[in-house]
C-alpha cells in the first residue's frame, strides 16, 4: 500500500471531439516536489482529475510502483494514500479547525455515536504541530486568513496518512509572505518523505522548490525539466514550445485618456496604481490566477467596488451597480458568457437588443420592426451564424454567442467595452472574427479593455499590455516591446520589469 512511486502512463482523455490528453505520462517519487506545468488548456486540470480518480481515462493506466491500478472514485485515491487540495477552498467556515481536520474524516475518534471532542482536538493539534503550523484548533475556520485555510486543508489531506499530496494552484490567492509559509511547509513535507505534486502558474515558486517539472503542452507531454537545468527561461521555453509570434504592425490610437484610474488597489494589501485607457485604444490586461488583472474589468462592470477613483472624460464617476456602467456607455462581457452574459433560451434578436431597449421602445412598447432591423444589421456585419435571428441564442456556437454579446454593446452605443477572456472556448475562425470586430470598434473611436491569459491574443490586438503580478501592474508594455517570453517572465514573477509607459 505504501508505494514509493505514483504516476500515470499513456493517458488519453477525450471530451467529445476534443482530445484533452493524448498519450500523457507522469510520475512522482516520494520525497520530491514535482511541478506540473502548462498553459491554460494544456491539460493540467484534466490530468489532476484523473490522478485523483474524479474522472476515468479513455486509455492508459495509473500506476503505483509501476503496478497498474484502476481508481473507481475519489475515495479510492484516498485509500491508496493520494490526497488532493483543490484550488478553491474546500473547508467549512462554520466549523472549528479541529472539526475541519479530524471531525469530518471518515473515521473520527468516537465513542458510540458521540464524537470524542478531546481526542479530536488533540489529534488535530498534534498533526498541526508535526507540520509546524501554529493555529488554535478551537478557532472557526471562517476566521482564519487565506494561508491558514490552505494549511487546514493540507492538514486534513494528511490526516489520512497521504503519501502523495496533489496541490492545485495552492498559492493562487495568497500574498507573497503567505506563499512563502506555504512553500516552507511543502519543503518540510518533502523532508518527511511525502511526494508533492504541485500544479501552478507561478514559475518563480517552481524554480525555488521543485525537484522536477513535468510540462504539458496542447494535451501532450512536452518534457521533464530536472533541478540541475531548471531556470525560468528553460521553463518558459518548454511551456510555450514555439518560436515567439511574429510582431504585428502597431496600429495608431488616440492619446486622450477616456478612462483614468487613480490610486486603485485590487485588494486591500496590494500597492495602489494609476492606469489610463485612451480613446481608440485596445488595452490588454494579463496575469496568472489571483494576480488582480480581472479586478479592473469587474469594477468597470459595476460588479465590485473599485477601491480607488475613476474618471470618465475627466469627470469623476462611481459605478455602484451594472446599470451605472451601462448608462455611462461601458459594456461588459463576462468570461462565463452562458452563465452571466446571455439569456440562452431567448432569441438572438432579443439578446442583441437587451441593452438598447430604451432606444427602440415607445411608451413601454418595443418597436419589433426596429429590433429586427438592428439584429439583422449586426447579424450581417459581424457574420453571426444562426438559423435565424429568432433562434434561441443557446443553439449558437461559442464564437457566435460571443459575437451576439459584442453586437449587444455596439447596438447600445457603448463607447467602452470591457471583456474577460474574449475568446475562451471559441474556435479559430470565430476568434479571428471577434478580434477583427474589436479592432474595428477601436478604429471607429471606441475603447476596449480586456483581460486575457492567452498571450497570442494579447500580442495580436492590444496596443498596450498591462502585466499584473501580486495584485498590481508589474509592467506596461507597448505593443512593439512585448514578446511572449517577456510577458510570461513578468507574469510568473521570474523577471522584475521596470514599468515602461
Amino acid at each position: 500500500m505504501n508505494a514509493r512511486r505514483f504516476g500515470a502512463t499513456g493517458i488519453v482523455k477525450r471530451f467529445g471531439p476534443v482530445v484533452a490528453l493524448n498519450d500523457v505520462s507522469f510520475a512522482c517519487e516520494r520525497g520530491e516536489i514535482h511541478a506540473l506545468l502548462g498553459e491554460n488548456g494544456a491539460g493540467k486540470s484534466t490530468l489532476v482529475k484523473i490522478l485523483v480518480g474524479a474522472q476515468a481515462p479513455d486509455a492508459g493506466t495509473l500506476t503505483f510502483d509501476d503496478v497498474a491500478v484502476k481508481l473507481r472514485g475519489p475515495q479510492d485515491a484516498v485509500e491508496r494514500s493520494v490526497a488532493v487540495v483543490h484550488q478553491d477552498y474546500h473547508v467549512w467556515p462554520e466549523l472549528t479547525v479541529a472539526e475541519n481536520i479530524i471531525g469530518t474524516l471518515r473515521r473520527p475518534p468516537q465513542r458510540g455515536a458521540f464524537i470524542r471532542t478531546r481526542a479530536m482536538r488533540r489529534e488535530a493539534h498534534d498533526l498541526l504541530e508535526r507540520l509546524g503550523i501554529a493555529i488554535d484548533v478551537d478557532r472557526k475556520v471562517g476566521d482564519l486568513d487565506a494561508a491558514e485555510k490552505k494549511f487546514v486543508e493540507i492538514a486534513r489531506a494528511l490526516a489520512v496518512d497521504a503519501a502523495f499530496l496533489i496541490l492545485d494552484e495552492p498559492t493562487a490567492s495568497l500574498e507573497s509572505r503567505e506563499s512563502d509559509r506555504l512553500l516552507a511547509l511543502l519543503e518540510r513535507l518533502r523532508a518527511a518523505d511525502h511526494g508533492i505534486i504541485l500544479v501552478t502558474h507561478r514559475l518563480e515558486e517552481v524554480v525555488r522548490v521543485a525537484d522536477r517539472a513535468t510540462i504539458l503542452r496542447d494535451g501532450r507531454n512536452a518534457g521533464v525539466v530536472s533541478r540541475d537545468v531548471m531556470t525560468g527561461d528553460v521553463l518558459v521555453e518548454a511551456i510555450l514550445g514555439r518560436a515567439p509570434a511574429e510582431p504585428v504592425e502597431p496600429r495608431a490610437c488616440g492619446v486622450t485618456p477616456v478612462l483614468a484610474f487613480r490610486g486603485v488597489r485590487t485588494r486591500p494589501e496590494a500597492k495602489p496604481f494609476d492606469l489610463e485607457l485612451r480613446g481608440g485604444e485596445i488595452l490588454g490586461l494579463t496575469g496568472v490566477v489571483g494576480s488582480g488583472a480581472v479586478h479592473l474589468i469587474r469594477a468597470l462592470a459595476g460588479l465590485v467596488p473599485l477601491n480607488g477613483t475613476l474618471a470618465l472624460d475627466g469627470t469623476p464617476i462611481v459605478l455602484r451597480a451594472p446599470g451605472d456602467a451601462v448608462r455611462r456607455g461601458i459594456g461588459y462581457i463576462p468570461e462565463d458568457r452562458k452563465g452571466s452574459g446571455l439569456a440562452l433560451e431567448q432569441s438572438v434578436a432579443n439578446n442583441i437588443a437587451l441593452a438598447s431597449l430604451h432606444r427602440i421602445s415607445k411608451n413601454g412598447f418595443t418597436d419589433t420592426r426596429a429590433r429586427t432591423a438592428i439584429a439583422e444589421g449586426y447579424r450581417a456585419s459581424l457574420a453571426i451564424r444562426c438559423a435565424s435571428i429568432e433562434a434561441p441564442v443557446g443553439s449558437l456556437s461559442g464564437g457566435n454567442q460571443q459575437k451576439v454579446l459584442i453586437a449587444r454593446w455596439l447596438a447600445s452605443g457603448a463607447r467602452i467595452i470591457a471583456i474577460e477572456e474574449p475568446t475562451h472556448g471559441v474556435d479559430i475562425g470565430a476568434k479571428a472574427e471577434i478580434h477583427r470586430q474589436l479592432v474595428a470598434f477601436a478604429e471607429a473611436g471606441g475603447s476596449v479593455i480586456f483581460m486575457s491569459t492567452e498571450l497570442r491574443e494579447l500580442l495580436a490586438i492590444a496596443h498596450r499590455i498591462v502585466i499584473f503580478h501580486a495584485g498590481a501592474p508589474e509592467a506596461i508594455l507597448p505593443h512593439h516591446e512585448a514578446t511572449e517570453n517577456r510577458i510570461t517572465g513578468i507574469a510568473t514573477g521570474l523577471s522584475k520589469a521596470t514599468a515602461a509607459a
Binding site: 475519489p74 469530518t104 471518515r106 455515536a113 486534513r156
Partner: protein, 316 residues
C-alpha cells in the same frame, strides 16, 4: 470592502444579539402593557403554547442545517396523530402501540422525503411540499374529516399530567431540546450534517456519504413530527386530521428567526430555542393585548420575513 473592518464586528453583533435583544424588548414591552404577563400561570401558558412547536423545530433544525427544507412537517404532525389514534382504537386502547404507530408514521414520512430528495434528485422544497399535500389528504381520508375522540385518560396524562409543577408536555419539549442538542453538536453525525449543509461538494470529496446524512436529517425531522403529533393528540385526547399545517411555517420560522442559516451549514439548537421563545412570546403578547388570531398570523408572518432579511444583513 469599504466597510470590511467595521461591518464585520457589527455583523457579528447583529448575529449574536439580534434575537436576545428583541426577546428582551418584547418582555419589557409586555410587562408594561399587561399586568397579567408576569404571572406564573401565564408562563406555564407560554411554555405550553411553545411545546409542540419547540419539539417539531428541533427536527427542522437538522434538515435546515443540512442544507434542505422540510415543509411536510405540518401534515406529518396531523397524520402521525391520526395514525396514533387509529392504532390505539384498533388495539383496544393500547397506549404503547398507539405511540409506536404515531412515531413510526413520522419517521416513515421523513424517510420518504429523504429518499425522494436524494434518489430522485427532487429539491427538498418540492419533495416536501408535495408530501405536505399528500399527508393532509391521507389524514382526511383516514378519518373522513372528523377527529378521533375518546382516547384513554392515561394517554392524556402523558401531556397534561403535572411533574414538578409543569405539565408533561413542557418536559417533553425540554427533553427533545436536550436530545437534539447532543445529537447535533456532540456526535459525528452532527458534524457531518454541518459539513453537508456548509459545502455539499466538499463533503462528498471528503468521503462523507452525503445522501445518507441527508436522509437521516429528514428522518430526525420526521421523528420530531411524530412526537409532536402524538403529544398533540394526547393533549386534547383526540386526534385531528387538520390543524397541523401551521407548524410548516412556524417551525421553519422559528429556526430561521433563531439565526440558523436558511442556506445550511450554520446554526444551532440553542438558536432554535430562542426562535421558538420569540414566536411563543409574540403569540402570547398579542393574545394578552386582545389581538384576534387572524392578525396574530399576520404578525408572525411579518416577523418571519424580517428575520430572513436580517440573515442577509448578517451575511454582508
Amino acid at each position: 470592502m469599504r466597510l470590511a473592518l467595521r461591518s464585520r464586528s457589527t455583523a457579528e453583533w447583529i448575529d449574536v444579539g439580534f434575537v436576545p435583544v428583541i426577546l428582551l424588548v418584547l418582555v419589557v414591552a409586555l410587562a408594561i402593557l399587561s399586568p397579567y404577563f408576569f404571572s406564573p400561570r401565564n408562563f406555564t401558558e407560554i411554555l405550553l403554547q411553545a411545546a409542540i412547536l419547540g419539539i417539531v423545530s428541533v427536527g427542522t433544525t437538522f434538515v435546515i442545517v443540512g442544507g434542505d427544507l422540510d415543509l411536510s412537517i405540518g401534515a406529518n404532525v396531523a397524520l402521525s396523530g391520526v395514525i396514533c389514534g387509529l392504532a390505539m382504537n384498533a388495539s383496544h386502547n393500547s397506549i404503547p402501540i398507539g405511540i409506536a404507530a404515531g412515531l413510526g408514521c413520522g419517521v416513515l414520512i421523513g424517510l420518504i422525503n429523504g429518499l425522494i430528495s436524494t434518489r430522485l434528485h427532487v429539491p427538498a422544497f418540492v419533495a416536501t411540499l408535495g408530501m405536505l399535500v399528500i399527508g393532509q389528504g391521507v389524514a382526511l381520508t383516514l378519518t373522513n374529516g372528523s377527529s378521533i375522540a375518546n382516547l384513554p385518560d392515561a394517554f392524556g396524562a402523558l401531556a397534561n399530567g403535572n411533574f414538578l409543577g409543569l405539565p408533561g408536555l413542557v418536559w417533553w419539549m425540554f427533553l427533545t431540546f436536550v436530545a437534539g442538542y447532543l445529537l447535533l453538536h456532540r456526535t459525528v453525525y452532527g458534524i457531518r450534517t454541518f459539513a453537508v449543509g456548509g459545502n455539499r461538494e466538499a463533503a462528498r470529496l471528503a468521503g462523507i456519504r452525503v445522501d445518507s446524512v441527508r436522509v437521516a436529517n429528514f428522518a430526525v425531522s420526521g421523528l420530531t413530527g411524530g412526537i409532536g403529533g402524538v403529544l398533540l393528540a394526547a393533549r386534547v385526547q383526540a386526534a385531528q386530521p387538520t390543524g397541523g399545517e401551521i407548524f410548516t411555517l412556524y417551525a421553519t420560522a422559528a429556526v430561521i428567526l433563531g439565526g440558523t442559516s436558511l442556506y445550511g451549514g450554520r446554526g444551532s439548537i440553542l438558536r432554535t430555542l430562542l426562535g421558538v421563545a420569540l414566536i411563543a412570546l409574540l403569540q402570547n403578547g398579542l393574545e394578552l393585548l386582545g389581538v384576534p388570531y387572524s392578525n396574530q398570523q399576520v404578525a408572525v408572518g411579518i416577523v418571519f420575513i424580517i428575520a430572513a432579511s436580517s440573515e442577509l444583513i448578517r451575511r454582508r
